[in-house]
């Protein structure tokens, strides 16, 4: 360390103490960071709020060039696109009629069975303004934070399916941990992998698994409750196990791997410019006049007569 050697006396002592402080501080931050200590969360929020506008500003010319290239490519085959869109419109009109019929039928069946509806969700669209950039983790930064009513744990989707979940929220920015990140673990259901019910109760067997990110494009399907029925091409959707993800959001399709099963994701990470963040609008307030169904003594008490029976 020529620079340190060239100094003498107080300067040398200062340099060494600075170095010692830096090493101790670095190790301390690393230990806290490696153990995901929540005390570091405010630091992450501040950094998100500061960095999001800067990366958004710096990336503007790059986005412009990318969009211009994409638009020019689109302009060249505008005739072909127009023809495809017309065909799509015809098909979509047919599907709209089918969907309307299903919706009516669904509503009638719900009314017949007195079904309690799933929690209500709304969504907010956010722009991706930053990416983790390195090869060690896979996350993106969006330009909506607490001001957009986003909370940690909220689910992010693109047009195709689930992208990841919000892990850190600043005032005006948030970070999404992608499904492909090594730290990502998502409880899922493999649709069609369980046995169909042979009894009158109509309850089909549900095969659950955990989707484990490994920094590759196709996360691994692990800890399946049953592997015999899993086949390539089966749909993977979120399960509500753990209460983080709502049930039934599309994730991807099963594909076979030499070691087991992986999932080809529906989300298009290549063109991830905007994401939708699901906002849980479920009313969890407890009625003031509600009473306990089971008393502390264990005897059943009368339910609130105002509440509809479920």
């Amino acid at each position: 360390m020529a620079q340190y050697r060239s100094r003498s006396g107080i300067g040398q002592i200062m340099s060494r103490s600075t170095l010692a402080f830096a090493v101790v501080f670095g190790v301390l931050v690393y230990v806290l960071g490696a153990s995901s200590d929540p005390r570091l969360e405010p630091l992450r929020r501040i950094a998100l709020d500061i960095s999001a506008p800067i990366t958004g500003f710096v990336s503007a010319p790059f986005r412009f060039i990318r969009d211009a290239t994409s638009n020019f490519g689109g302009f060249l085959d505008v005739y072909e696109q127009n023809r495809t869109l017309r065909e799509d419109i015809v098909q979509l009109n047919q599907w709209r009629e089918v969907a309307r019929r299903f919706e009516e039928e669904n509503a009638r069946l719900r009314a017949l069975h007195n079904v309690a509806l799933a929690p209500k969700f709304d969504y907010i669209t956010a722009q991706v303004v930053g990416s983790s950039g390195g090869g060690f983790n896979q996350s993106v930064t969006i330009n909506v934070g607490r001001t957009g009513s986003i909370d940690a744990g909220a689910v992010a989707l693109d047009g195709g399916g689930v992208v990841g979940r919000v892990v850190s929220v600043g005032q005006r920015a948030a970070r999404i941990l992608l499904l492909t990140d090594l730290a990502s673990r998502v409880p899922v259901i493999v649709e069609g992998a369980g046995k169909k019910s042979t009894e009158d109760d109509g309850k089909d067997e549900v095969v659950r698994a955990i989707l484990v990110g490994d920094n590759s494009g196709a996360p691994v399907l692990q800890f399946a409750t049953k592997t015999e029925g899993i086949r390539p091409g089966q749909r993977i959707v979120t399960s509500s196990d753990g209460g983080v993800f709502p049930k039934g959001l599309p994730i991807g399709e099963v594909e076979r791997d030499s070691d087991g099963f992986r999932v080809r994701l529906e989300a298009n990470f290549d063109r991830l410019e905007f994401v939708r963040i699901l906002l849980d609008r479920t009313d969890r307030t407890i009625d003031a006049d509600a009473v306990l169904i089971v008393s502390p003594e264990g005897t059943r008490t009368e339910e609130n007569p105002d509440r509809p029976e479920e």
């Binding site: 170095l19 830096a22 490696a34 990336s59 920094n215 590759s216 494009g217 990470f269 991830l272």
Partner: protein
Amino acid sequence: MKRDPLSVWAILAIIVTMTTGIALSALPLGAGPDAMIWPNFLLCVSFFWLVHRPLGLPTIAVLFVGLMDDLIGGGVLGAGMLALLIGSLIVRAGSDSLVRSAFGPRWLAFAGFAAVVFVIEWGLTSLPRWSPLPVGVPFAQFLVTVLAYAPVSVLFRKVLRIGRT
């Protein structure tokens, strides 16, 4: 060796280039597995200043920059910071000879510096998971970072009139 005194412009240039280096490393050019392999500009900029203006990038500044990069990147907090700190100490040790050397050996030294930083960050990121991270993407990023140093260095020399080839 006698160091060039730090002017206000040099300090300003260091702050602006380091901030830009961090921001460029976090550009949203694709995401996740489909993200474009993008150089770690922070390493290029840090190495340049550590060689040409080591007094302008003191240890505390390296620590701060590394911390900011970790916070913005979203990885294991402290892993990149410690890696950059250790790498910077190695570069400081040889900065006197590096500043006098030709561009070729300096570029080679940068490759060594980047390799040290990537390997340490890889190790520190793998450690909490008790399993080694895949090396494919980090290695590819290391290669493009080494390639990116040449144009960054030339640009700085031309624009800021610092250093020599």
